[in-house]
Assembly symmetry: C2
Homo-oligomer: 321 residues x 2
């Protein structure tokens, strides 16, 4: 099943089912998670009624964000991506041994989620705007300490994530040691809709899905990978995230960048040379994942007045402590 939030004929955001290249309106406008977790009979009835509603061709549909997560965790599960990135960072150029031990992640700004079709304003102060091609898992229930053999019960579905990144801002921030913040908090595209796990069974290989992934700039493909190359499964990501901690219904657990899924990986592999130029105003980025659809956004001029704060006020001297 593929479920979307989209702008209905009355201008209000509705829930719809994607089928046969059309959006079918689901009566009563339940949230996607409510529909998935509600009684089976109610869901079946609503889907039958949706099939009799007016249907909008996909090309005409304007999509909204499928879920509004409270927490978004972004992992780093593609080995070839981190191996490429490390080629142009301080250190020995190798993947840190700690990366192999457990699936590292960070929390992202949940307020920055935008749908496919949205314009992405160029963040002020960057000359290195980039994208990140990822797949996001949506959590179905609020859970804690999930064992591996139960993890699949808590996966509502999957969608595509573009974790937009300003690499120059990010690089400065990461030297402080907390990870990226302003380099990534301005926009994340999530969409176009949620595909439930049963739809992906034909692509299953063990505990991975073999889905072709690609990203194009202005129609030209600049990176491809396959989702089967995850070094941890989605179930393992949920086990790790929920160990001794709550993970909430609607939360996003994203893979992190696929290999070749960011320009910065190309730049790092080329020793820092901008072999593909950073994104510019007017560029259109399209990401497609087999079975999940595609998302498309255009970079536009900044809308931010770029308010800056002064440098740190010094409060520490060797004499103080």
């Amino acid at each position: 099943m593929q479920l979307a939030r989209y702008v209905g004929p009355n201008g209000i955001v509705h829930t719809g089912r994607i089928q046969h290249g059309r959006v079918q309106d689901i009566p009563g406008d339940p949230g996607i998670l409510d529909l998935l977790t509600g009684p089976d009979q109610l869901r079946r009835d609503l889907l039958v009624r949706a099939g009799k509603q007016q249907r909008l061709p996909l090309e005409q549909a304007v999509f909204a964000v499928p879920v509004q997560p409270r927490a978004m965790r972004d992992f780093l599960v593609f080995e070839a991506h981190i191996a490429g990135m490390k080629k142009n960072e301080p250190g020995d150029g190798g993947v840190p041994p700690q990366w192999y031990e457990a699936p590292a992640f960070l929390f992202m700004n949940p307020w920055s989620v935008v749908p496919t079709g949205a314009d992405i304003p160029m963040p002020p102060g960057t000359r290195r705007l980039d994208f990140e091609l990822e797949v996001a898992m949506i959590v179905e229930h609020t859970v804690r300490d999930v064992p591996l053999d139960e993890a699949h019960e808590h996966i509502a579905g999957f969608t595509i994530l573009n974790d937009w990144s300003a690499r120059d801002i990010q690089a400065d921030e990461m030297r402080v040691g907390l990870g990226p913040a302003k380099g990534k908090d301005f926009a994340n595209t999530l969409g176009p809709w949620i595909t439930t796990p049963d739809e992906l069974e034909p692509y299953r290989e063990g505990d991975r899905y073999a889905l072709e992934m690609s990203v194009a700039v202005n129609g030209e493909v600049v990176g491809t990978d396959n989702l089967r190359n995850m070094s941890w499964s989605f179930e393992e990501m949920l086990v790790h995230a929920s160990r001794d901690a709550w993970v909430g219904a609607g939360d996003v657990l994203a893979t992190g960048t696929a290999s070749q899924g960011a320009l910065s990986e190309r730049w790092a592999r080329a020793g820092g040379e901008l072999v593909i130029p950073p994104l510019q105003v007017g560029d259109v980025v399209t990401m497609s994942v087999q079975g999940l659809g595609s998302i498309r956004n255009r970079i536009v001029e900044t809308v931010s007045p770029d308010h800056r704060v002064p440098a740190a006020r010094r409060t520490y001297g060797a004499d103080r402590l």
Copy 2:
């Protein structure tokens, strides 16, 4: 004004006003942010009626979390803390120059917030449990691109934050470069209540508040600082966080650790020696901030079955790309 969420006589969580050492129940149980942003006349009426309600002595009150943030941003604005921490990290032992340029922050797990009084289960797999003494600002409205001279209009109030941290887990994670995750996602104490900015006017020095801060383990004070030592003001933190990004009503913007506000800073200054032992089951940590009250939590045995995931599956060879 000081506003709390507390367990009322009927066992349900209510909103109350703290006054004269007692909790006064506010009729109709508005959320704290709703009360602060609602019509002035309604708020005045409710507060007058609260003064006539049954009053619970503070010692008898059981507090809940004052707000449930969607996003929690944790900054690092105390120079003496980062200077201390860097003394035992790889590198030249100094504060990175990038730290001085802008107030770095990271996002935390919003599901992990617990109130004062809650037991804190020892996270599985750590032998370096620690605390972080911080002050948290609560954002009043959902805002973006806030200019400095308007930032004060969006501050609902302040409370104390204890950002519990498992230092050994965190150290491994930080070598990957994304910042901490499992080292900090299990618990954050937020409380005991929200103090509105007008209450802190007597302590104001320019754009800082001169509030004594302290943390004690089992009744013995192990660290003190003063909130005036922030290298950026709360208003500046909001300007930075909201530059080209949404910051939501109820979001937390926290200072990061005050100097001496974490055992790990002591350990780093002593060259890694555990001059004060890590927290153990049974330890009680109390944090007090002048004008804001105090929070108190006890460490108890873990409740987690400690589900672990396997190491990374290798998917990358030099031949692949």
